[in-house]
Symmetry: C2
Subunit: 215 residues, 2 copies
């Protein structure tokens, strides 16, 4: 009944295949790497690859979930101490950028494969592997909003406003032509907060060079 009898060996080769896959996908791209490439780099056999992952897409999905987990664990740890809305927003944005800089291969893979068909098709599977975390963060933002610590907005707007700019920056970086300057996370954290913080008196949006100028 055990899910993993010979786990030691099996898990080991599964790991080797995932590592090889990340290397190959990074170097050659997802479409261009063949099972043969992965087989050579990992030292496994075709049969073994298919035993563990079922199909080429299976590798992509497993690797995606793997990287996502790394990312989320790191973020979770960082968010534990954040209780206010501003701290929360800034920490999420900053972490997103900083983590990507620290784990370039994994980050690039996540950025590239997001919405890539091979992975997108496995939506439900990924949901179940990581959905709670996202849902949790989302509901936390709604709570902040309800408490007046964030601007009141349609719920579906929070995530895009908070992370969209960073995501777009990182996408450019992953594409290879923009670099990630050292202090850039601060710029984006500021921007996200500027965009989400409450305040804004009667909101005279038409002419806006007037207000603001705190204590």
């Amino acid at each position: 009944m055990e899910r993993k009898r010979r786990s030691a060996t099996g898990e080991q080769s599964r790991r080797a295949i995932l590592d090889a896959a990340l290397e190959c996908f990074s170097r050659l791209g997802w479409a261009a790497t063949t099972i043969e490439d992965i087989r050579k780099v990992s030292g496994a056999s075709v049969g073994s690859v298919y035993h563990h992952f079922g199909a080429k897409e299976g590798i992509a999905v497993a690797l995606y979930i793997d990287c996502l987990r790394l990312h989320q664990e790191s973020l979770r740890a960082r968010l534990e101490k954040k209780h206010g809305a501003e701290d929360f927003v800034r920490a999420v944005v900053t972490h997103h950028i900083a983590w990507s800089r620290e784990h370039p291969e994994a980050a690039r893979y996540l950025l590239r494969m997001r919405r890539e068909e091979a992975v997108a098709a496995a939506g439900p599977e990924i949901q179940s592997a990581t959905g709670d975390f996202v849902r949790e963060g989302f509901s936390r933002m709604k709570d902040f909003a309800q408490a007046g610590e964030l601007l009141a907005l349609p719920p579906s707007a929070y995530m895009p406003l908070m992370l969209g700019p960073a995501q777009e920056l990182l996408r450019g970086w992953a594409g290879g032509h923009v670099e990630l300057k050292p202090g850039i996370e601060k710029v984006f954290a500021d921007a996200a907060w500027r965009c989400l913080r409450p305040d804004a008196p009667p909101t005279t949006p038409t002419q806006s060079l007037v207000r603001r100028k705190g204590p």
Copy 2:
């Protein structure tokens, strides 16, 4: 010497192939549609398809450029009358969302294929087809910034801040699970402007978790 002798016929079948491709890609996804699918829908032959596009990727790229052109022409027209920074920013964001709603297939295709390997590899070709437009918009933003009509920021931050949130929203929409509510473009235009408008007093960038929190 003429580039297009039998152009009428040729152009026609090229068009038919592109249309068929958009339909197939939308319905089945890029990876899953075969040349055979496109051949059947368009009525062309394999040879004809390869004559016009060279490879499956060639179809994807041509279609991408085709859709991008539509998008840009529409945006260009809309921007002509916008002279101030605020108008400009709001128009770009609003247009991005509204256009997507009006041309769902093309928009979804653009969103899905952006950074998709098949298309990303053709970067240079796409650059030359559309680069000017982007460059132009970018330099316009730098001008605004220089004139003090936009917050001073690292140049690479403008595009992500302006369009990142909308892009993220649309990506969710293209993925199929978020819907595009009627007035949502206003929310995102407001947010973009909130985030880019100048103002912000002496800007004490180093420590920013202190101030703010008004009365």
